[in-house]
Symmetry: C2
Subunit: 420 residues, 2 copies
């Protein structure tokens, strides 16, 4: 009879952080006739869970009973807000939970809600219970916790399979890619297009004709590190999500960040473009980084690709990315610096794409002359700095890429270059 809406973290329901307030909404779906008495809701954490089933035990610090209020907006239903803290109960953990392998963010909990009322002499007990919750103690655990919530809700309809992560099912790439697109759509306002998802699928599963039916394990998604990197696929992807949210939102939403492109594809795309054509790509080697790559041509007409060291949140909070693109300079042999970035791929003049995000931060404070930070790379032309070896490219791949990625239709110059 009651349908609990879940406690919320900033936009991330079903995750609760210890020591931080959270609120819960319980909606009574039956309409009680003439409710002039007060309906008390009692909330319990991990009510029915046998101790030892879970590694950590928690309790609700504040008063756990609240009286329901009428709420106008929800047409006659009753709702109630809880607002309380959660704190770990220190228990001498004799028999440590069943799964020593599970991490904290894989441990599932629940909130139970109970109410009792009597109508015409009949006592009625109501009880309901939340979907599985993840309890974290620091925001640094939020990505992991959110991965669990996503995986659970993607792969099961069971209301409370608390042992879910004891043997988590696999997800098909079809399912998973849809969820990943949703993540971006929900948190930034723009999802991922087919090409971007393809790159992600390839990163996760290797080169395949079609990823759709490939199965992705929970471990591969979130627990194992990417080969040669000190982070997992989801940690990497989430770091980019955070980077967009904090530093790249307007540019991302204007669809000016291709973002997820392999270095091979990048080269294939830029190869035949005008010198100074560039695109924006997220770093695959570092968490939460974005770089630009532009194409130049040697004297003998050969294409050369140069990428700048990725910018991370620290750098970007000193200088917004649009201003970096605007003012970026390369100085060769100490000669007059030049901004090598001319056209956003395929051919949008830089200022046309980013002009309205420029931040003319020239704040005139009278006796002083204004000063700004200019991002700059210094090259020594005697050193072949840019001769990074071509990454391996499978035969025929170039054509495939071309086919797959070419049909970008630009309607007006202000339009996005990467339609979905």
């Amino acid at each position: 009879e009651k349908q609990p809406c879940m406690p919320t973290h900033p936009q991330k329901p079903l995750i609760i952080k210890t020591g931080v307030q959270f609120s819960t909404k319980v909606r009574l779906l039956v309409k009680l006739p003439e409710v002039d008495y007060q309906l008390k809701i009692k909330t319990t954490f991990d009510k029915d869970l046998p101790p030892g089933r879970v590694n950590r035990q928690f309790f609700i610090l504040t008063n756990n009973t609240k009286v329901m209020d009428f709420e106008e907006s929800s047409n006659g239903c009753l709702t109630v807000d809880f607002r309380h803290l959660l704190k770990e109960k220190k228990v001498i953990n004799g028999t440590k939970g069943n799964e020593g392998l599970l991490s904290v963010t894989e441990e599932l909990h629940t909130l139970s809600f109970e109410a009792n009322f009597s109508i015409q002499g009949i006592s009625i007990d109501l009880e309901t219970c939340s979907l599985p919750l993840v309890v974290i103690s620091n925001v640094s655990q939020l990505p992991g916790g959110w991965a669990s919530v996503m995986w659970y809700n993607l792969l099961t309809n069971e209301p409370r399979n608390m042992g879910f992560f004891g043997s988590p099912p696999r997800a098909s790439w079809n399912q998973l890619s849809e969820v990943l697109g949703w993540q971006f759509f929900t948190f930034t306002g723009r999802g991922l297009n087919k090409e971007q998802l393809n790159m992600l699928g390839e990163k996760l599963l290797g080169q395949q004709v079609s990823h759709s039916d490939c199965q992705v394990s929970w471990s591969k998604f979130c627990k194992e590190n990417i080969l040669g990197k000190p982070f997992s696929f989801w940690m990497w992807l989430d770091s980019i999500l955070e980077l967009i949210k904090k530093h790249l939102l307007p540019i991302w939403n204007d669809n000016y960040i291709m973002g997820f492109v392999s270095k091979e594809t990048e080269r294939a795309l830029l190869k035949d473009q005008e010198p100074g054509t560039f695109l924006l790509r997220f770093s695959e080697s570092h968490l939460g980084g974005i770089t630009f790559t532009w194409v130049e041509h040697n004297d003998n007409g050969e294409a050369k690709f140069i990428s700048v060291e990725p910018y991370t949140k620290n750098r970007l909070s000193a200088l917004p990315f649009a201003d970096i693109i605007r003012n970026y300079k390369v100085m060769v042999d100490g000669v007059v610096p030049e901004n090598p970035l001319k056209f956003l791929y395929p051919d949008i003049p830089k200022d046309e794409a980013f002009g309205r995000h420029y931040n003319s931060q020239q704040n005139k404070v009278f006796p002083y002359i204004p000063s700004m930070l200019v991002p700059m790379s210094t090259l020594d032309s005697t050193l072949p700095l840019c001769s990074s070896p071509e990454p391996p490219m499978t035969p025929g791949m170039f054509d495939m890429l071309n086919q797959q990625l070419r049909p970008f239709e630009i309607e007006t110059a202000m339009n996005s270059p990467y339609p979905e």
Copy 2:
């Protein structure tokens, strides 16, 4: 018999922040013969203070009794560490404290320590009490709290005059300037020299032949805003102290920051120096800012002084100050930029002074070319940007300044230009 050492904030004793642990040391100065029993110390907050005397009431959250331990290091004395939280007691504040005018950081509190033991059948009570404490709820109140602690301990020897800030005495500039110098010495490792203190005295008291015997009121020191500025003298000075601690420590300790110089003095000093001679000065218009001023000469030989927009902690955490000085460029009419900073006043070549603090942050990450931030000012030579009017200078002041500030003796080039 007991001498309490005080609870500590990061280097700031006598200030306690609610919700944060603090520790206290109580030393028993008498040596007890054969103490084989345990001595319990009970700690009470604001023990004897009549309620209503203070606006806010607090209590110690954790267990307030602790058993003394022997401590080897303090030759046979007994010491004990308390470690507990302080939380405001919510009181329906019927009769609000005696002084509605007092701010939170002017409200004084105490910690009392009690112990009881019996020796040869005689029961002995010991009791002692801390110096007045300030309780704050956020670090943003730390500067104000610290000002109170300084003022109290500078101007009274009374162990517990809780109403001190009801009518706080004045300090002579002699006393105060000594304390200010100590502050810098204690928190940075380098104090303030006579010229720097002179500038501060002038800022606080106006131009006087001698400030020594001038009286500074508590209000002028810490409560009233500086004329035309939205902050008080101490808030301004403390913001600089923080800036030094976080971003300028080595340069400050090398004595390369003149820092406290009036604009008049600055011009007088730079006037006859080589073009490109510069000095470093703290901003008087903004909290926690540092700028450099350099001298150039017009075609007609007239000296021109240019100051850059002050750098604050945000800018400095993107780019350390030494690197700003190293790479700073001025671009006039889009022509090849040039670093106008040549000699640190009076004549130390820039790289000699700051070279060892340069941060060659060129981290080569293979496929990428490194990028750095270059601080740059752009000027349009058609606009007379630097023609800020000469600040007023009293007659004869120039000579006085010259006399007063000239005798800088430079022993070697690596030596500090501003000996104390």
